[in-house]
Symmetry: C2
Subunit: 336 residues, 2 copies
C-alpha cells in the first residue's frame, strides 16, 4: 500500500542546481487516464538542466516539478486505463509537461499514455535510459533524415545519451558514423560505442576532417543538439542536399543561419524535438516497435554512467553540467 | 546570315551598374550540344545584379559575361542537337554558368538543353519572363513545400517577378496567399495580381497580421528571397511543421537561425535555388510541362514592367536596384 506522503523535487526559482529542493507532500491519486509509479530509478536529461535554468522550450510554472524519465512499478491506476495494472514494471516516455508531471519523485502520477513496459532483462536504471534517447534519435535519423546504408552521418555532442543512441541506430542502419566530441577524453569511448570516426572539435577542423573521411562527399545527415556557431561548420561539412537536424540549444550564443551554404548546396535545416513523435500515437507506436526490437536483438544497448542517491539530486545535476559523463546519469531510490 | 561581329555585355571588375560595358566581339559558332540565338529581348534578374556585385553564389571569372534570360530565334545549331532547328523561337532556361554563357548580347551561344520554345501568343519580352520565375516558384511551392489547397503561404518581396509567379501558382493551387512588400506603393498591384492579403512590412507587424489572417494557425509554407533578420519574423509567423524556403540573399546582413521557434514548432528551413531543377532533366521536364499548361490555360501570365534599349543596360540595372518595378524588367534589342 502506498504511503500517505512521499518525497519529490521542486524548485521555486530558476537557477543553478542548488534551486532543486526535496520536499515531502501528500501522495496524489491518479485521475482518469493516469497511473502512479513507485519509482526505483530516475534518468537525467540535459532538458531538465535547461528547464531548471529557465532556458528550455517550456518555462517552469514556479514552483515547479521536474523530470522526464523514471522507472518503477505501477502502484495505482486511474479510470479508463486499460493497458496497465498495479505491479507492472514500466518507465516513462517524455510525452508530458514537466511542470505538470515531473517525475523526480518517489510516487509521481503520469499519463498512462506516457508509460511503457521495458524488457525484463534491463534493470530499472537501464529502463530510464530508453525512451528519450532512442525516440529522439530514431525520429531524427530515420523519420526525418531517412538515413540509409552507406550514407555518412555526423553526430555532435556524441557522448550524451542521445548521441550514443544515435551512434547505435546509425550503425544498425549501416551508415558511416562520424562522432564529434570536444576533447580527447571521450574519443576512445565513442569508438568503442560504435563510431567509425571521432573528430575532436577543440583541436581538429570539422570540415576538413569530414571531407577527408568522406572523400570530399560531405555528410548526408547531421544530428546536432548544440546550435550556435557550430552550425556554420556543420553546413560546410554537409553534402549537397543534406539534412541538418537541430534538436537542442546547448550553446547559448546566437545561431547563424548558413545562408550561402544552404542556397549553394540545397541544405535543409530542421528544428526537431521528440514531442513530434511522443504526441502522435501512430508515430509513437512505430518508434516503440523499432526500439523494442533493437533492445531484443541487442543492437540497442542503453549505456549507464554514474548513479546518485535521490537525496543527491543537486550533485547529479552538477555532474551532468560538468560534461564528464558517458551515457546516462541516474538517481537510484531507497530500496531499489 | 549572321554577322561576323556582335555586341555583348562584359564586365572586368565587380561593382555598381557602371561596370557593365557593351563590347563588340567576333560571333562564336555553337559547339556540340549548343545553339546560337539571334536575341530579341533580354529579361533581367536580381541574380544578375548580385553576380555583377560579386555577391552571388557563383563568382564571375573576370572579365565576365552576364545574363540568364533571353528570347529570340535560333540562328545556328551545333552538332548533336536534335530538338531545335534554325528559326525556332525560343527563350533560355537558367541552367548554365553566367560567366561561361551569359546571354546579355546579340548572338549568345548557349547549351541546347538550356533553351525551350515558348507559346506563340507570348511576345519575346514575355518569353524572357517565364523560366526563371516559374521554375523557381514551382520547385519551391510544389516540389519542396507541397503547398496544397486551403493552406496559407507567405510570399515575401512579392513584387519581384518570382514573387508574382509564386502568387499565380499558389492561387492556382487554391492556397491562401499572404504577400509582403515594404511600403504602400505596390500593395494594390499585389492584390490585383492575386494576393489574398498584403502585409506592408515597413509599417505592419508581420507575425500579428499573419496570426490575424490565419486565425492563429500561422503560415504553412513561406517563400523568401530576402534572408537576414526577417527570418526571425517569418519563423514567428510560421505554423507548426511549416517549411520556410530561402531562395536568395537580398538582405546582406547576417541571417539568424531561429533556433527556439524551429525546435518548438518543428520548422524546416530549406536553402533552395532553381538549379536543383534545371540541372535535373526529369525534374525540369515536369516543371516545363506544368508551366506550359499554366501558360496555355492562362493561370500563369508573365507580367512585364519597363523595357530599356540594349544600350541602356546600366540604367536597367539601376532601375532594378531602385525597387520600383512590378514584374519583369527587360531589354529590347534593335529591330525586334
Amino acid at each position: 500500500m502506498a504511503p500517505s506522503e512521499a518525497r519529490l523535487v521542486r524548485f521555486t526559482e530558476t537557477g543553478p542546481a542548488s534551486v532543486l529542493t526535496i520536499v515531502t507532500e501528500p501522495v496524489e491519486d491518479p485521475r482518469e487516464g493516469e497511473v502512479r509509479l513507485r519509482v526505483e530509478a530516475i534518468g537525467l536529461n540535459r532538458a531538465e538542466v535547461m528547464f531548471r535554468e529557465g532556458a528550455y522550450l517550456e518555462q517552469p510554472p514556479l514552483p515547479s516539478k521536474i523530470g522526464y524519465e523514471a522507472a518503477g512499478t505501477i502502484d495505482a491506476v486511474g479510470k479508463n486505463v486499460d493497458d496497465f495494472k498495479i505491479g507492472d514494471r514500466v518507465s516513462t516516455i517524455p510525452a508530458f509537461s514537466m511542470g505538470q508531471y515531473g517525475v523526480y519523485g518517489e510516487r509521481p502520477v503520469v499519463p498512462a499514455a506516457a508509460v511503457a513496459k521495458y524488457p525484463e532483462k534491463l534493470s530499472p536504471r537501464e529502463g530510464t535510459a530508453i525512451w528519450m534517447q532512442y525516440i529522439t534519435a530514431y525520429g531524427a535519423l530515420i523519420g526525418i533524415g531517412r538515413l540509409s546504408k552507406g550514407q555518412s552521418v555526423i553526430i555532435t555532442a556524441a557522448s550524451s545519451s542521445v548521441g550514443i543512441a544515435a551512434i547505435q541506430i546509425a550503425k544498425n542502419i549501416g551508415a558511416l558514423v562520424i562522432a564529434t566530441t570536444r576533447g580527447a577524453s571521450k574519443a576512445q569511448m565513442l569508438l568503442d560505442a560504435g563510431a567509425d570516426h571521432v573528430v575532436q572539435t577543440d583541436t581538429e577542423n570539422l570540415e576538413d576532417r569530414v571531407s577527408e573521411i568522406t572523400e570530399g562527399a560531405g555528410a548526408h545527415v547531421i544530428f546536432d543538439p548544440i546550435g550556435g556557431p557550430i552550425l556554420d561548420q556543420l553546413a560546410a561539412a554537409a553534402a549537397p542536399g543534406a539534412q541538418i537536424i537541430e534538436y537542442g540549444a546547448l550553446d547559448s550564443r546566437p545561431t547563424p543561419f548558413p545562408l550561402f551554404a544552404a542556397l549553394g548546396k540545397g541544405l535543409t535545416i530542421r528544428g526537431y524535438t521528440l514531442f513530434e513523435i511522443t504526441h502522435d500515437p501512430d508515430l509513437l507506436a512505430k518508434a516503440k516497435a523499432f526500439i523494442y526490437q533493437g533492445l531484443e536483438t541487442g543492437d540497442l544497448v542503453p549505456l549507464l554512467d554514474r548513479t546518485f542517491a535521490f537525496d543527491d539530486v543537486r550533485q547529479a545535476h552538477e555532474y551532468m553540467e560538468s560534461n564528464q559523463q558517458f551515457g546516462k546519469i541516474t538517481l537510484t531510490l531507497d530500496g531499489s
